[in-house]
Amino acid sequence: MISIENVQKSFKNNEVLKDISIQIEDGEIYGIIGQSGAGKSTLLRCINGLESYDQGSITVDGNLINIRDKKSLRLQQKKMGMIFQSFNLLERLDVYQNVALPMKFWGIPANTPQAKEKILKLIRLVGLEEKMHQKPRELSGGQKQRVAIARALVLDPEILLCDEATSALDPEITKGILALLQKINKEMGITIVVVTHQMEVVKQICQRVAFLNHGKVLAVGKPEQLFVWPKEKEIRDFLREESDKLPSSGVNLKLFFFGEGNQRPIVTQMSQELQTDFNICWARLEDFREDVYGSLVLNMQEKDLERACAFLDSRNVTWEVISK
C-alpha cells in the first residue's frame, strides 16, 4: 500500500504540492489526474524518491520514502518500476539489453539461464520477441513504451509507476498499451499508479482516481463518480463540460446516467407522458471500463420544468438544473 499523508513541496517560492493525502491500495490501478502543471508528475516522482518532499510522509508498505536515506531508498526503488512519457531507453542498447539493464544496476548477472529466461518472458509478454535485437531508433513509439514496460518489470516490482506513459502515442497505440497495463495488473497483481491528463486513460483502466488542481487534491473516488456528475468547476473545465453553447431561452435540465441509464428510453417516455417537446442540446455517453455512463442536457419551457423533474424522480434519474 502506498500511503501519502499531508505531503507538501515547494520549488523555491512556488508551492507545487499542498497538503496531499492519498491512499493507494495493493493491486489497484490508481489514476492521478489533472491539467498540466497540477503537480501530478511531481507527486509521482516523490513516491519513488526521484524528488524530495518538504513536509508530510510517503510510505510504501509501511517503509518511509526518504531521499536522504540512500540505502533504504534504493531498496524501495527496486520495488517500484517506472515508465515515462518519452520512454527513456538507452539508444545504444538493443531491446534485450535495455530490458536487462536494471539487473546490472543490482549486480544480478544477466547471462545466467534463469535471467535470460526471465528477460525473454518479459519481452514475450510485451509482444516484441521479433524485435529483440533491434535498437530503439528502429522501433515505433508504442514499441518503445513496450520495451520500457518490460524493463520496468525486470526487477519483479510490486508497483508500476506510469508518468504520462501514453501522452506521446496516438489513440490506437494508447489502447494497446493500456490493455497491456491492465493485463499486467490482473495477471501479475502489480499495483499501477498512472499520472495522466488523458480522459481515455482514466476511463479505460483506472479503478480509482485523485483529481489534482494547483497542487491540491480536489476529489478522490471512482472515475464514474467523479466525472459523470462533477460539481467542481475545475473538473468540469477539465472535462470540457457543456456550458458555452446551450440555448439561453427556457431552462436547461441535465440528466445523468449511471451504468444502466442508457438501457431505458427515458427521454421519449417523458416526452409522451408530459405531452410536450424537448430539445436535446448536449449529450455525452462514455465507457468507464465495462459500463456506460453519461449525461444529457434537455432544453424545455419553464412551465414544464416541475413536471419533468417529478417524472425523473419517479424513474430514479439523477438530474440538475443548469444555472445560467
Binding site: L50, L75, Q77, G81, L89, E91, L101, F105
Partner: protein
Amino acid sequence: MSGILSGAGMTSVVMKAFNQTLYMVFWSTLFSVVLGFIPAIILTLTAPDGLKPNKIVYEILSFIVNVFRSFPFIILLVILIPFTRMIVGKSIGTTASIVPLTVSAIPYIARVFETSLRETNPGVIEAARSFGASNFQILMRVYVKESIPRMLNGVVLLVISLIGYSAMAGTVGGGGIGDIAIRYGYQQYKTDYLIVCSVILIAFVQLIQMLGNHMYKKMS
C-alpha cells in the same frame, strides 16, 4: 640522374617524417584522451545539470580549461620547454614534442568529452535513477556508454588538429611531415617535397575521417 637520386632521397626522408608524425599524433592522442577524460568527468558531474552539481568546482575547472585552450600552440610549445625537460629529460626531438601536443590537447578533449557526455538524454539518466542505479553506475553505464560515438567524433577531430599542430612541433626539432614540408618545400624551394607532403597529409586526414565516420555509424 639527379632526378632519380632526389626521388630515392625523398622517399626515405618522407617515410621517416611520416613515421614521426604518426608517432607524435598517436601518443599525444592516447595521453590526452586518458588525461582529458578525468576533467571531463568532473565537469560533467559538477555541472548545474550533473549528478553532483557544484558551482565552485565547475567554474574553477572550467576556467582552467579555458585558459589552456586560449594559448596559441606555438606559444605553449615555448612556455612548456622546462616542463618538457622535466618529463622526458630533454626539450628537443620527436618524443619531447609529444608533451606540448598532449598538454594542448587535454583541455580540448576535456571540453569535447564534457559536451558529449552532457548531451546524454536526461530522461535516460532519470530512468536509471528510478531503478536504483548509483551515481557511479549512471556515470559509466549511462553517460559514458551513451556518449561513446559522440566522444569518438571528438577524438577524430582531435587527431586531425594534432596532425596540424605536429607540423609546428617541427620548430622544436620534432620532425614529421609538416616539418619536411616547411624545411624542404618552403625554405629550400623544393616544390616536389611540398606537393608530396601535402598529398600525404590530405590522404591521411581523409582516411582518419572516413575511419571515424565508419566507426561512428557502427557504434551508434
